[in-house]
Amino acid sequence: MATDIKDLVKWPDDGVSSIPYQIYTDPDVYDEEQRRIFRGPVWSFVGMENEIAKPGDYQTTYIGDTPVIVLRDLEGDIQVIVNRCAHRGNLVCIAKEGHAEELTCVYHNWRYDLQGNLKSVAFGKGVGKQGGMPEDFDRTQHGMQRLKCEIYAGLVFATFSDEVAPLTEWLGDEMVENIDRVVGRGMVLLGTYSQYMPNNWKLYMENVRDSYHASILHMFQATFRINRLSMKGGIKMSDGGWHHISYSIAETDQEEAEYDAKKLRAVKDGYTLADPTLVKGWREFDCGTTLAIQSTYPNFVVQQISNSLALRLCLPKGPGECELLWWVFGAPDDTEEQRDIRIKQSNMIGPGGVISMEDGVVGGWIQRGTRRDLGKSSVVLMGGRGIEPSGEGRATEVSIRGFWQGYRDCMGV
């Protein structure tokens, strides 16, 4: 029977601007999230279509903490199937990736086709007329659990929900437009890695949506006096606040071109980079966007930081831990020079990124800071109490509030 969620979580009265510490720590809340969010009305990113190019290619990953297989079946269609044998619950695919003509559980040799339909069970008719499955055993009732999936711009999403709107409708036009811009040319995978963090997954997703902290916590650019020329920027959010984009646009065409050693002026008590080519880029997008961090609810990120392009997925690993998976990519028509720039700029992102490494550590500090005071709450008041983006400027926590609106909608708290 469903837990009465309102007994489990006492949400403060203040809408989405006051967040109870309890929900970063409580194992019961974590379990409810798996059911109500990750198996709820959301589309979860599960992988890149071109990583499973040939029929039979598969990868294993997770939706929330449920293991799933993402594969291309023999007809060439993408399928997302819960990675669990219908017999005794064993993982069917063990490897992170591979190629298979069928899915076979190693434990008792139950065999499924690549749509998850059960084809045969070992010793189904017994051995020497002894044992075997009962007469009324119906193979069609014992397939692996297949999920609904959709592919957009080479990104594969899946859902447990029958109610969720079609993917692009669920994302909304502005979100789709940014995906088209960053990913639509095609993706050439340049590298993958993971960052394992000692904090609840939501603390990382708040950080992703937190445009307020960027120039405060991350001191690399300020320390080295890397002055971004005047830029406009702001926040875009989908209806209801579930998804967001935080962006900057260069005012002039020269912005990136001027971004070279000459402009990296040292002021008194400042430092200069010995090799300023680290931050050299090119104007990749006609719209002039130099930064766009997009998140789709609940845990997926599309990143453009200058010419550094990446996908990130934050997987929950219990109440107090999460794993951030990174896919760093370029475009199919990149020149060698452009690829080298992407490689150089990769020094700014990821677990060792000189600009972004701090994002891996603040969550753990909040986890430690809050765990003994579960009745207290954090304050998310910057830029008001609502979830309407207010014009330009990023000194706001509005997109964090959007995340919490999505959370309250899904969780019913």
């Binding site: 890695y193 993971s194 430092y271 980079l273």
Partner: protein, 162 residues
């Protein structure tokens, strides 16, 4: 050792000394010396084993100049925010895989234990160094240092080089 590589005792000693000095400099927090272990034209790359084996080019760190090495350390001292910690490098015996001109290709396994300020200790990283070492006079240096990490995962963050 590959049969084709003939090594004088002196070359062997210089290579071993360089590898040991490098590890001790990092573990002793003499990070300002880090760039000096490299030749003027140099590269330092850290990448996980999976990416390396698949021929992917982006990893965890990629310094293609001595200036970038210095910038990493200056950033660590002056800009980056993290919880204080130290490393202890344990190195394996070194395998000499090639020799050409003054450049030796060598491989050494490493184990790095990370100790946090409150005392938590963990196996932070294991893997192997794939190096090109130049023996020029009496100060051997790395021309290339490729750090191949066994795991795809980095715990929390990596700020001190390996």
């Amino acid at each position: 050792m590959d049969g084709s590589v003939q090594l004088t005792n002196d070359a062997r000693r210089q290579i071993d000394d360089l590898l040991a000095e490098y590890a001790h400099a990092i573990d002793d927090d003499r990070l300002e010396e880090w760039a000096d272990f490299f030749t003027d034209e140099c590269s330092y790359r850290m990448i996980n084993r999976e990416n390396h084996e698949k021929g992917r080019v982006i990893g965890i760190m990629d310094c293609s100049s001595k200036g970038m090495l210095r910038d990493r350390i200056l950033a660590l001292r002056e800009a980056n925010v993290y919880e204080p910690h130290t490393y202890r490098h344990i190195l394996s015996a070194t395998r000499i895989t090639g020799y050409s001109g003054d450049v030796y290709s060598v491989e050494t396994s490493f184990l790095v234990i990370r100790t946090m300020q409150e005392g938590d200790m963990s196996v932070f990283c294991t893997g192997k160094y794939v190096d090109e070492i130049v023996l020029d006079g009496d100060s051997p240096k790395f021309r290339k240092r490729l750090v191949i990490c066994d795991s795809n995962r980095i715990d929390t963050l990596i700020v001190i080089p390996i």
